[in-house]
């Protein structure tokens, strides 16, 4: 689907801005918003470039930098912290060979930190794209990563 086709699924009204940006980011192979995407969105909604840019930069869920196919967001809010989210972090960093904010060289994973995912009852938690994983331990994490690597192409 081209950028134009994605955008045109939505009505050209300003309150669709976030929906359009999400759709564009989700369909980008590198999970990000390109300048062209922002530009076409601005023109479609009759907004100036900076108003679209300002919104995209305000929300941490949007990225203007290319990211991995899978975005891993590890929760670092208090409950998860108490239940050793830092150990999970270490496992992720070791397995992926990257630190938070970075992307693996094969372009498959980006590791990010997140505020509360609302899963405190089964902490620690993380999200991989739109899927939530709870009650994490080292094995669980390894399993998820293997599965993702195997999935390769969605």
């Amino acid at each position: 689907m081209s950028i134009e086709e994605i955008i045109k699924q939505f009505e050209p009204v300003q309150h669709n801005l976030l929906n359009i940006l999400h759709a564009l980011q989700d369909r980008h192979p590198q999970n990000c918003l390109t300048e062209q995407a922002l530009d076409e969105t601005a023109r479609y909604l009759k907004l100036t470039k900076s108003s679209v840019y300002g919104v995209a930069k305000y929300y941490t869920m949007f990225s203007l930098e290319p990211r991995g196919r899978y975005i891993i967001r590890l929760c670092v809010s208090p409950v998860c912290e108490l239940l050793k989210a830092n150990q999970i972090m270490a496992v992720l960093e070791k397995n992926l060979g990257i630190r938070a904010g970075e992307t693996t060289s094969d372009g498959l994973f980006t590791l990010e930190l997140s505020e509360c995912l609302g899963q405190c009852q089964e902490a620690p938690s993380m999200m991989v794209n739109n899927e939530v994983y709870n009650g994490l331990g080292e094995e669980e994490v390894q399993r998820v990563l293997v599965r993702m690597r195997r999935r390769k192409k969605k």
Binding site: L38, K46, S50
Partner: protein, 908 residues
């Protein structure tokens, strides 16, 4: 807002309009409550919290900028607690701020830092952390720099761009302490920013500063400020020029004064450098053996006087003619006109208005009795419907457009655009009617028919204010009958329902303004187009009150004034016909001349003068500040005509496309070197003041004119100062009778101003029209097809026009780096369908030919902003002289030329 309420601020009794802004009321009463995010022109933000006050009966500290005054309010503006809180807030703001100061800009924040003693480190509570925050600088704009470390995030720039200029180009990026302002995608230079600089003018800290001359400016040292009027379009913006060491280094808008209230466009703010350009003419030049050699003023003036006298003696007094100039002052043009009438002895004086709004003025004079705009520019802000026809006002009158956008964006007013080409105002328009070029009469008659058939006329108005009343209306009705929506759609290509809705909105509006531009006027049927607009306006009664009327924004700074002071082949000062013997007798008395010396026969108009030169009826010509070799239609013919002249004098500030044909070139002053007045589009007489000395031997136009007259044996008068000339203008032109320089010191006055105590006239035609019987006149006119059509050999119709960054023949605008950095290349707009059909690609260079000439090396720009079969080109660029293609077939009434319609072909 008119009801006054009483309140006290720190025990001082104050009365103010109910609902007024408390901070502003306090400021107006001399109380220096500190503030940073508040600005009079903007909606209150309440971000900086420095304007906190206490109000009896209300809890806590309140931001006074967000409080409306009410009866009995008791306010504390200053006490120890408030001052302590303010100091704390400033201190906090300061820690994330780069406080270095290069002295090149006003800095309200810095002033407060000093006022609260925070310049001393020991008085601060917080350590400076700005260096750790990694604030960026954005230097990508050609005209301004943004430094996030100097930014206090007060929103003033964002609101200046959005609320004042209607552009909304700026926004915040990121969150919290590391947020900052961005244009575009964090690159100002690639954003929609057009360089108007409103954000610079309203920035309180120097985060946004002009680039040009920044290193030369020390704001507190050696700067002199001169208030004057902008030399570009006819809005008449009031400028304050900053001068250092005899050089203009900055231009700001003057706040709180009409018509611009501080607003400027990119030309007004950054277009002054041409004044100090090395290309300026600095000495008189005489052509000897085909080459220009420097001469003394005496030598040049004697030669001019001798040659003009010889021509007059040899061929008679009708053999001389002059082009006056819409760039120069009223005083210059008045004397120029006086020279032609009293020294040349004929009425062959005209100027570029003939190529501009002549048709509008002609139609308005015949129908309404005055050819000038009927309303004030500020009226647009309160109009509920604006019919903008053939008028690309965002580019040609950017400051007027700010009021128009304000009405739409803040009051929900509706814009109806009639234009064959997309213009930026379409973004704000409710309806865009896109008729084929040259079909306006059919479209407007169609709208008139809708108004009549749906009973939207104002019978009362027609009976009271229209000549012939309902009987005259019946003949318009009969004519309009055949312009059915179906027929109109067929002729114009405009969808019938859109046209019908536009007609209904206009007729039903409370305060509708028509803004008519070159697209309407520069046609063979220019006068007819405007007759149709006036017919529609009269039958709906949409004129004669504030916010309702017809307004042609004038293209040059003083087009209005030059006509007003009588530099016209048809009218004396104040629009009195040259054929009016009574008036000539009166003026002869003022001028101290025998009545018989003043020619009572109409003179030749701009293009007619060239045609007469071609026929060798005109032998000598005096051109002041005009460039016909770029701006006249059918340039090849103009060139032949100008070559046939025996003697040509060109008075200008630069060499132009016309000066090579001159025998003598006289160096004149630019706007910033002149004293005098201009009249803007809403009839406002505005002062022009000298800020810098002219280069070399350049002299002010009126002095040169007076010298030539004297040397031809007929001195024009004894003038010591420009105000002496103005006083004579006020005597000869009744519309100016009450205006004198002392009244123009702080603000302009709108004519008619018939007496000393008269305040001037904001709205024309409130009681009566200015026709002999006081009634408006309907002129029903039929649509006629164009004589020039697209055909097999010339398949395109070419339209021409202007862009924001260049100005007319660009003699001035192209000598400003700031402007040429934005735009400096000609192009031709072509519809994608045509590009496909004929195999042209974007960026390709083409040549374009008409039946009259051809031009080459023009870059194709593919755009759906033009209709299929139509092209558009700007006319500013001398290397792409589009007027080699245009026609000089004239509108029979106004003698305007059809710049907007030429059949052409495009080749590789």
């Amino acid at each position: 807002m008119s009801k006054l309420v009483n309140l006290t601020i720190d025990d001082k009794k104050i009365s103010a309009p109910e609902g007024a802004n408390l901070l502003q009321v306090a400021k107006d009463n001399g109380m220096a409550i500190p503030h940073l995010c508040y600005h009079k022109k903007l909606s209150p933000t309440g971000a900086c919290r420095l304007c906190i006050v206490k109000i009896k009966g209300q809890r806590g500290l309140l931001a006074s900028c967000a409080v409306q005054v009410s009866e009995g309010m008791e306010v504390t503006a200053f006490d120890d607690e408030l001052e302590e809180a303010r100091k704390y807030l400033l201190d906090y703001l300061l820690c994330e701020h780069d406080e270095s100061y290069d002295g090149s800009h006003p800095d309200e924040f810095r002033e407060l830092i000093f006022r609260y003693g925070l310049d001393k480190k020991e008085n601060r509570l917080f350590p400076s952390i700005w260096k750790e925050l990694g604030y960026p600088k954005d230097e990508s704009s050609p005209v301004l720099s943004y430094d996030a470390a100097k930014c206090i995030k007060c929103f003033r720039c964002i609101k200046a761009c959005d609320e004042v200029q209607g552009k909304n180009v700026l926004s915040f990026t990121n969150r919290g302490i590391i947020s900052y302002i961005v244009g575009g995608f964090d690159k100002w230079g690639e954003s929609e920013c057009d360089g108007c600089g409103e954000c610079i003018q309203l920035c309180p800290t120097g985060a946004i500063v002009e680039k040009p001359h920044r290193s030369e400016i020390k704001i507190e040292n050696g700067i002199c400020r001169v208030r004057t009027t902008c030399p570009y379009c006819g809005v008449g913006c009031q400028l304050e020029l900053m001068v250092r060491n005899g050089k203009i280094v900055r231009s700001n808008g003057v706040e709180g004064v009409s018509p611009n209230d501080g607003r400027l466009c990119v030309k007004g703010r950054f277009g002054y450098d041409y004044v100090q350009h090395p290309d300026r003419l600095t000495t008189p030049l005489i052509k000897k053996d085909g080459k220009f050699v420097e001469a003394s003023w005496d030598e040049a003036l004697d030669l001019v006087a001798r040659k003009f006298t010889e021509i007059k003696e040899t061929y008679g007094r009708k053999a001389l003619a002059g082009y006056a100039s819409a760039k120069t002052t009223n005083e210059d043009n008045y004397l120029f006109m006086k020279l032609v009438r009293t020294v040349f002895g004929n009425n062959n004086v005209d100027y570029c208005t003939r190529l501009c709004h002549a048709s509008t003025v002609t139609a308005m004079l015949r129908s309404l009795g005055d050819g000038a705009g009927s309303n004030s520019i500020e009226d647009y802000a309160h109009s509920d419907c604006m019919l903008v026809t053939g008028n690309n006002m965002i580019e040609t009158h950017p400051v007027t457009a700010t009021y128009v956008k304000y009405a739409v964006q803040r009051h929900g007013s509706k814009i109806i655009i009639i234009d064959p080409r997309w213009t930026p105002l379409v973004k704000d328009a409710h309806i865009w009617l896109q008729p084929r070029l040259g079909t306006d009469v059919a479209l407007l008659n169609g709208m008139i028919r809708v108004i009549i058939s749906e009973g939207l006329i104002k019978k009362d108005f027609i009976e009271k204010r229209v000549d012939g009343g309902m009987k005259a209306f019946e003949s318009l009705k009969a004519l309009a009958e055949k312009y059915t929506p179906e027929y109109v759609e067929e002729v114009t290509g405009v969808a019938a329902p859109l046209m019908e809705e536009a007609a209904r909105i206009y007729a039903g509006a409370e305060r509708p303004l028509i803004a008519t531009g070159m697209g309407c006027s520069q046609q063979v049927t220019g006068t007819h187009n405007v007759f149709c607009l006036i017919n529609m306006m009269l039958i709906t009664g949409q004129i004669g009150r504030p916010g309702a009327g017809l307004n042609p924004p004038r293209g040059q700074n003083n087009v209005q004034g030059v006509s007003d002071v009588g530099a016209s082949p048809f009218t004396y000062p104040g629009y009195i016909s040259v054929e009016d013997a009574e008036n000539r007798r009166r003026v002869a008395g003022i001028w101290g001349l025998p009545f018989g010396e003043l020619d009572g026969e109409k003179g030749l108009s701009t293009v007619e003068i060239m045609q007469a030169a071609y026929e060798r009826e005109i032998r000598g010509m005096y051109i002041m500040g005009e460039n016909p070799m770029l701006t006249d239609p059918n340039l090849n013919h103009t060139e032949e005509a100008i070559k046939k002249l025996e003697f040509l004098v060109v008075q200008d500030i630069f060499h132009t496309e016309t000066t090579p044909f001159a025998d003598v070139i006289l160096p004149a002053t630019a706007f910033a070197e002149s004293e005098g007045t201009y009249v803007n589009s809403d009839r406002r007489v505005l002062r022009v003041r000298k800020a810098v000395d002219p280069p070399g031997q350049a002299r002010q136009d009126w002095e040169i004119i007076a010298e030539i007259a004297k040397r031809m044996g007929k001195p024009l008068g004894n003038y010591q100062h420009e105000s002496d000339i103005w006083d004579e203008i006020a005597q000869t032109a009744p519309i100016f009778a009450g205006i004198s320089y002392d009244r123009l010191e702080y603000h302009g006055i709108q004519w008619p101003c018939p007496a000393k105590g008269h305040p001037g006239t904001a709205t024309l035609f409130e009681e009566r029209f200015n026709t002999p019987n006081g009634l408006g006149k309907l002129h029903p006119v039929e649509y006629a097809g164009q004589s020039e059509k697209a055909d097999k050999d010339y398949p395109f119709i070419l339209n021409t026009g202007r862009i924001l960054y260049q100005y007319h023949s660009s003699t001035m605008s192209r000598r400003n780096k700031s402007l040429t950095d934005f735009a400096n290349e000609a192009y031709v707009l072509m519809h994608p369908g045509d590009a496909l059909k004929y195999g042209f690609s974007d960026g390709q260079k083409v040549h374009i030919a008409s039946r009259r000439g051809e031009i080459s090396n023009i870059r194709v720009q593919i755009s759906d902003g033009v209709l299929q079969g139509e092209l558009f080109m700007p006319f500013h660029y001398s290397e792409a002289p589009v007027n080699r293609l245009t026609r000089d077939e004239l509108d029979p009434y106004s003698k305007i030329a059809p710049f907007k319609l030429s059949a052409v072909r495009v080749g590789r």
